[in-house]
């Protein structure tokens, strides 16, 4: 940090406790304009990329699950699909459905955590979910119960909820019997009701008018709301295969953050991944119950207001509950818990939709299956330039606020993106320098 704010006021807020991980934000103001916004985040995938080199091709599903306690399934699925791609294997049928089912669990759990524990308090004027719980215990209890269904779904398929151990290349070590899915199926009806109530609840919040025409990027599947695979598309005409990701996107080192920032390779423009992008590019693929709830909540077919992301997340939770029900009802036990994945020399790519947006993985293997090289591009590093862009405009629009209120509102604006700047500290230092 080399900012020399001459006699500027410096505000330091030990805050943003409700962002996953570790971050600091620096805003510099000169006169009436914002001259700099830097979001400094720390991200662990860099370490894991190095840690994976030289390891067996079968290890990444277990190792990468440790990158994030909130979205381990996303890391497992992107890694598995990238390595299977390198080995010329595609997982289909009931095994693919089980992968989508465990992923539904992660969407339910991660989104519900964010909606109830992290984001809703902002809209309702509470310091934290703890204060919210003191006044609205039943509401928070509904969130905790809904979240627990997601948690238990991951535990049932994945063997345990934090860092699931049952996922392997080609499928699973063990798959559930139809009967074993019975108890969770019985709870999913109530979960779907709770999810519908959640959409109705958050739809009543007040949302500032704040929209920017970012390029939105997500997976797109011919028949499904995207989770596990598909083409990569955008609202600006991008349409590519997963393997072409690095042709179109580039990660750059910026001095103020240990996380790399991704941008469009050809234009250097920032872009947005995550619920708003997924929804805007795929809302017609939502389950009817989720589509209806979205319409009743006032969402159009697209949504570019990051403050409304809490509604979109809630709609996605409803979709995930409905999809989990559909998958379990149609479930036929596969002949084997996994299909064989033999090593070969090559390169493979995989993108899945983590709760926070696309998570890209690339692996290179030698003929014996030793990992030569791994690239992991998480959603938050892709969104970081967009978050900075939004903060820039947000601060310019709210210069009249005092530092403390401005800081509070900036934190809320950051939380809109549910940045998983994970595996790091609790502390965000917010500094506003006004010369």
């Amino acid at each position: 940090m080399t900012h020399k704010a001459p006699a500027g006021r410096t505000l330091k807020v030990d805050a943003l406790a409700r962002v996953e991980g570790e971050a600091a934000m620096h805003v510099e103001v000169r006169g009436d304009s914002v001259t700099d916004v830097q979001l400094q985040i720390y991200e662990p995938p860099r370490f894991f990329e190095a840690f994976l080199r030289g390891r067996r091709y079968t290890e990444p599903p277990d190792i990468t699950a440790r990158i994030c306690g909130i979205c381990p399934v996303a890391y497992q699925m992107s890694a598995s699909r990238a390595i299977e791609d390198a080995c010329g294997v595609e997982v289909t049928g009931p095994l693919r459905e089980l992968r989508r089912l465990i992923y539904c669990g992660e969407w339910i759990e991660s989104h519900t955590l964010h909606v109830y524990m992290l984001h809703a308090p902002d809209f309702l004027g509470y310091e934290s979910a703890i204060d919210l719980a003191q006044d609205h215990r039943d509401v928070v209890e509904r969130g905790l119960q809904l979240k627990k269904v997601g948690n238990d779904l991951i535990e049932l398929i994945g063997g345990r909820a934090v860092h699931p151990v049952n996922v392997r290349l080609g499928g699973f070590y063990r798959v559930p019997t139809k009967r074993e899915l019975g108890p969770i199926r019985a709870r999913l009806d109530a979960a779907r009701d709770a999810a519908r109530e959640t959409v109705e609840w958050v739809a009543g919040f007040d949302f500032p008018d704040f929209e920017h025409d970012h390029e939105l990027v997500s997976l797109h599947h011919p028949t499904e709301y995207p989770v596990l695979d598909g083409r990569l598309i955008s609202n600006r005409g991008l349409e590519i295969a997963e393997r072409e990701f690095l042709d179109e996107f580039v990660e750059q080192q910026v001095p103020h953050s240990t996380a790399l920032q991704a941008r469009r390779r050809r234009t250097d423009e920032h872009y947005l991944v995550g619920p708003l992008a997924r929804y805007s590019l795929n809302s017609s693929r939502l389950a009817p119950v989720a589509r209806d709830a979205a319409a009743a909540a006032g969402l159009g077919p697209t949504c570019q207001n990051p403050f409304r992301s809490i509604v979109v997340r809630s709609v996605e939770v409803l979709h995930a509950c409905d999809e989990a029900i559909r998958i379990i009802d149609a479930y036929e036990e596969p002949d084997a818990p996994c299909i064989p994945v033999e090593p070969r020399a090559g390169e493979g790519h995989g993108i899945t939709e983590a709760p926070r947006g696309i998570l890209y993985n690339r692996y290179r293997l030698d003929p014996e299956g030793t990992i030569l090289d791994a690239v992991i591009v998480p959603p938050t590093s892709q969104n970081q330039p967009t978050i900075e862009h939004d903060l820039w405009h947000f601060v310019e629009d709210h210069m009249d606020l005092d530092d403390s209120e401005l800081g509070r509102r900036c934190e809320q604006a950051i939380r809109n993106y549910d940045p998983c700047i994970s595996c790091a500290t609790h502390f965000l230092d917010l500094r506003v320098d006004r010369a």
């Binding site: 662990p44 440790r66 306690g69």
Partner: protein, 159 residues
């Protein structure tokens, strides 16, 4: 479900942040039968689930109080404030302190919650505890087992 639950909190890819998991791992074989053991990343809602139905909760976690690395602390909820747990190694924004506050608001506090904390030294990326913390793990594990044995539920059963 009733009785005692032992919860190890941590991230073993953030060096000493894995101390809580290491303590629970070392204590496991010495725990009385019927004691539930849970590994957690410390996310509050999961912690509430982990101790649901249990009267006695014994948690092992890395702490930062400023004491020398490897120092073993014991805190009992209700008797003293919990220290900052996890430090820079957290994989999430919230920890045991938030979990107990949330539990209090939700009426979900256990009757007794004891934290065995190990003062963290190194919280950088990577596996492996620092030497000072690794040396403290066996003693912390013994203390955790003693804490569990003292639980009234188990005392009634055995005595």
């Amino acid at each position: 479900m009733s009785g005692v639950v032992v919860i190890g909190i941590g991230n073993d890819f953030r060096r000493d942040d894995g101390a809580g998991l290491a303590v629970v791992g070392a204590a496991r074989s010495g725990l009385p039968e019927g004691v539930r053991v849970v590994e957690s990343d410390g996310e509050p809602a999961r912690l509430l689930d982990a101790w649901a139905g249990s009267d006695t909760v014994v948690v092992a976690d890395a702490v930062r109080t400023g004491a020398p690395g490897g120092t073993i602390h014991r805190f009992e909820l209700g008797r003293e404030a919990l220290p900052a747990t996890r430090g820079v190694g957290s994989s999430h924004a919230l920890g045991l302190g938030e979990a107990t506050n949330l539990a209090a608001a939700m009426g979900r506090l256990p009757a007794r919650l004891v934290l065995i904390g190990i003062e963290a030294l190194e919280l950088g990326e990577g596996p492996g505890l620092s030497a000072a913390v690794a040396r403290a793990v066996p003693a912390a594990a013994r203390q955790l087992v003693r804490e569990v044995q003292r639980a009234p539920e188990l005392a009634e059963r055995t005595g």
